[in-house]
């Protein structure tokens, strides 16, 4: 079908010959350079086949000029990150944890690194930001079972708590007074009343008085005569407002009956020394550091 080109009477422009319900389309064609640009981009794309991995072959694929893969890129990126960190890591290795705070640049580095390592390794139990969970102590408050100084935190991180694989691990073992029948049921009730009385919550003053004797004979050796705890033994203070497993009468009774045996892994050998130092500085800074 070949018809003569028709011009629009009003504008003097050629029409395309297309007509819809009496409306004719004017022919205002795209400039040809626009099409050339399209072809240039097509040719440009061929360059990608040459430089980057592209087409699959029967058993393999085209590797590209530089053999680029995401895996090698990852390794390169990680290597360059490690190289950037290296000078800081060297300085960290040379310094004692207590000296890091004097170097504000290194302190910033440790805080940022510690935060990342904490999120990967510690947050599942201690919570993001170290806010703690029942049975897993808050690292932000001012109560520390094994000490809240930089050195004490550093040591705990190294050896863990009740971590059998580590010889020097932080260790204590509260007897299960009820389960192992070391105390009678009414003795346990008395001593719980006595413990509650430290925070003025005893409901039976007579029982609390009786419990004082039980406490002195069974508990004071670890928790201290004044019940304020002994940090060297990891024995918690029973007179403050912080309860690792809960401070209600029921949970204290449960603790005395069955004991508690929280465990924290030793990070020595799992994380390198510099990383443990960064973690120490970070945990110390959360608000409870002493």
């Amino acid at each position: 079908m070949s018809t003569k080109v028709e011009k629009d009477q009003v504008s003097g422009t050629d029409t395309t010959g297309h007509e819809w319900d009496g409306i004719k389309e004017l022919n205002t064609p795209l400039p040809s350079w626009w099409v050339y640009v399209f072809w240039i981009t097509v040719i440009w794309s061929v360059g990608y086949w040459v430089v980057y991995p592209s087409w699959p072959t029967a058993n393999d694929y085209l590797k590209g000029m530089f053999g680029t893969t995401n895996r090698t890129e990852l390794h390169e990126t990680m290597a360059s990150v490690a190289a950037e960190r290296a000078p800081y890591m060297e300085r960290l290795a040379a310094l004692d944890v207590s000296e890091i705070a004097n170097d504000s640049e290194l302190l910033n580095f440790s805080m940022a690194g510690g935060k990342a390592v904490f999120a990967d390794n510690c947050a599942p139990c201690h919570g993001t930001g170290g806010s703690g969970n029942p049975g897993f102590p808050s690292l932000q408050d001012d109560a520390w079972l094994w000490g809240g100084t930089l050195d004490a935190i550093n040591q705990t991180l190294h050896v863990g708590v009740r971590w059998d694989a580590n010889e020097d691990t932080r260790f204590n073992d509260m007897p299960a007074f009820g389960r192992d029948e070391l105390l009678e049921r009414d003795q346990i009730e008395d001593v719980v009343q006595y413990v509650l009385s430290f925070t003025d919550r005893a409901t039976d003053a007579a029982a609390a008085d009786r419990g004082a004797v039980v406490f002195e004979e069974n508990c004071a050796s670890c928790h201290g005569d004044d019940a304020k705890g002994v940090q060297d033994l990891g024995a918690p203070n029973l007179t403050d407002a912080i309860w690792l497993y809960g401070g209600s009468k029921e949970t204290i009774t449960e603790t005395v009956m069955n004991s508690r045996r929280g465990v924290m892994p030793a990070w020595e050998g799992r994380l390198d020394e510099e990383t443990i130092k960064m973690l120490t500085v970070y945990v110390h800074s959360l608000g409870g550091g002493q």
């Binding site: 018809t3 350079w33 099409v35 408050d141 407002a241």
Partner: protein, 501 residues
Amino acid sequence: MAMSTLQQPDIEPKNVPHIVDEGDYDEVPLYKKRDKVYPKRVSGRFRNLKWFALIALLGIYWVVPWLRWDRGPSAPDQAVLIDMDLGRAYFFFIEIWPQEVYYITGILIMAAVGLFLATSLFGRIWCGYGCPQTVWTDLFMLVERYIQGDRNARVRLDKSKWTLEKIWKVGATHVAWIAISMATGGAFVLYFHDAPTVMVDIFTANATFGTYVTIAFLTGSTYLLAGWAREQVCTYMCPWPRFQSAMLDDESMIVTYESWRGETRGPIKRKNLVRGEVPETGHCIDCHACVNVCPTGIDIRDGLQLECIGCGLCIDACNEMMDKVGFPRDLVRFDSVQNSQLRSQGKATRVRIIRPRTIFYSLLLVIIAVVMMFGLANRSVLELNVLRDRNPLFVALSDGDVRNGYTLKVLNKEQAEKTYVLSLEGIDATDFQIIGLTPNQDGTYDLDVAPDRVGSFRVFVAADPQTLDGKSTPFEFTVTDKETGNTETYDTVFAGPENDR
């Protein structure tokens, strides 16, 4: 109504045959071949205006980075500088921090409304005089004309065989274009670094990779757009010509052809000139001078059209011819469509600047300008931001108190070392400490912040739950400039346990 009169010159039928013998549809190419434009040299009022705009705008572009402005030792002394590394923008006495980027938004809105206003008053003068595409194209054409000669010489040169002379002329043109392009790209990076320093760095190969990439990219785009693409940018790439008619009305001053006087066009008859008689044809002698000088290669006699950038060079060209043949000037003139019609009816013309449309645009412009000026005049030199810890909301302490943690950001926007006193109000704090600082006698803290910097402080506040107002107790942090007494407060809350527990 306005639109119908505006479009009238276009509606007159062209009296073309309905079917023309330009071939069959299956012979029509799908894409349009580029018709190269060879604008002829012209002189006159509008050309002078264009020269002035060219020199002024290029001058501003190349000179501004070298202007100095003393801000003291703690800040750069470049009058106009966008410091990407530090996140500061300097414009003479104004300094903008990243969070104040809304000033840029304000400037962009003002530029847009200003463009609308200018267009409704004077048509596309931005396109014809101000747009970088126009300015650089004009400069490139000047170079081209200087080396290759005027329109006819260039047409001949393009058609001629490749001789040594042609190679020399075309080569020299492109070398000159690339040199200008490099100067253009090179000047751009000066706005983002200290100009004298980066200039030395560029030539001693010490500048950053990004600097060279930027220069290379802008060199390439300048060369391509001003040397090769030219009017194609305005016609096919730029969105502005497509919606400019929304700003125009029939009182807008635009470049118009007085068709009532010019038609019927035709070559001048010698006898009319000799006898001084009224010509049988219109005043348009169909000499194509207006077409030959047009930088976009259009015929203004077809009326207002998308491709017209409103530069008015056709007016200069036509006036020159009219003077030669002794007809009245301004057959092509800078006037409104309405005036052209009034004149054709022998009525008095008028130029009305104040119209509802221009009042609206001006009002908008003034309002935005006033808001901006007010904002700038009242720009605080001290800001306090408090980020409250949310994980956890509060920490229970061994003595039964609860503690909240806050991160304070103190923004010192002055070029001087500052000491601010931080105090608490509205809470009965049992403990108030800042990591790394010791409190003053009265329990407040002195915060030192370097000039033009943000000080970041970790603050712990503890309180007895008995004194708290339930889960959330409002209180405020206050920083006071020790010297000036300038004060900034931030309302925050202290989170605690619920009362009934």
